[in-house]
């Protein structure tokens, strides 16, 4: 299983990696902003099983990245992982095409549950 973690904080990427590694058989790719994420996606023809995206990042933020991915790819599951917790933000992300939404701070269990849920739904829809 291939996961792409997009977050400008290396610490947060490491925390998510440590948590999601417990799923087993996970191959991680990382990017620190939207621009870098688009390059990683372009360089990975096999695609990703899930892309986790932070909202507030320098250079290109998460919502712009979601729009850019969805311009050409309607299938790859996308999940926002962010401190942005207002209903209006969640709705904006859903409109842009995210499959799920996790709010920081999170417990490892909460993140695992959201990721597992997103992967299961994507698998059922395939």
């Amino acid at each position: 299983m291939r996961l792409l973690l997009v977050d400008d904080s290396r610490t947060m990427r490491n925390i998510m990696k440590k948590t999601l590694d417990t799923l087993g058989g996970v191959e991680f790719s990382e990017a620190s902003d939207g621009h870098e994420a688009l390059k990683v996606i372009a360089a990975t023809p096999a695609g990703f099983d899930l892309v986790l995206v932070d909202w507030n990042m320098p250079n290109m933020d998460g919502i712009t990245l979601i729009h850019k991915i969805r311009d050409t790819d309607k299938k790859t599951p996308l999940m926002m992982v962010t401190t942005e917790a207002e209903k209006s933000r969640v709705m904006e992300a859903i409109k842009a095409g995210v499959n799920n939404y996790a709010v920081k701070p999170f417990t490892p269990e909460a993140l695992l549950e959201k990721v597992t849920q997103t992967l299961s739904k994507a698998k059922a829809a395939a």
């Binding site: 904080s9 925390i15 507030n56 401190t83 942005e84």
Partner: protein, 168 residues
Amino acid sequence: MSVIEAPKPAASPINSKLIMPFVNSVRSVFSTMVNVPTTLGKPFLKKDPCPSYDVSSIIGFSGDITGCVVVSLQMKAAEQLVSAFAGAAIESSSPDFADAIGELANMIAGAAKKDLGHAARISIPSVIIGTGHLIARLSDVPCIVIPCQTPSGDFTVEVSIKPVNQST
């Protein structure tokens, strides 16, 4: 007949609607992701432009809220708290140190933003490390300090924000 009115008590500069979201977000971040017991003291007004401690992470607010929030930590506390947060030892000389301090401040400000009741945006955090640094805040916005104690050492959350188009 003249009436002498009793002087009105001065309005408190501490607006609980702006402070309580940060009290709650500190509790939430530290209990969820740092797993270090944290005791919060009574918020107080501060006039000194120096942050309380040696390590500061600053988050700017814009939109319907203006100003900034500073998370200021004792160096020893900062090293121990970011290590607990990251799940691995991080020394202040590591580039991951500022990254982790910034992310803690980002989560505190982000979690509080939801409960402020205004459409606001927060900036990417900036981190300053060094004794005696100064932070220039908006002159017309009071700075309210939330003192926090942990077994690793102390830190403060210094809230200096106000709703736009509203005097303090």
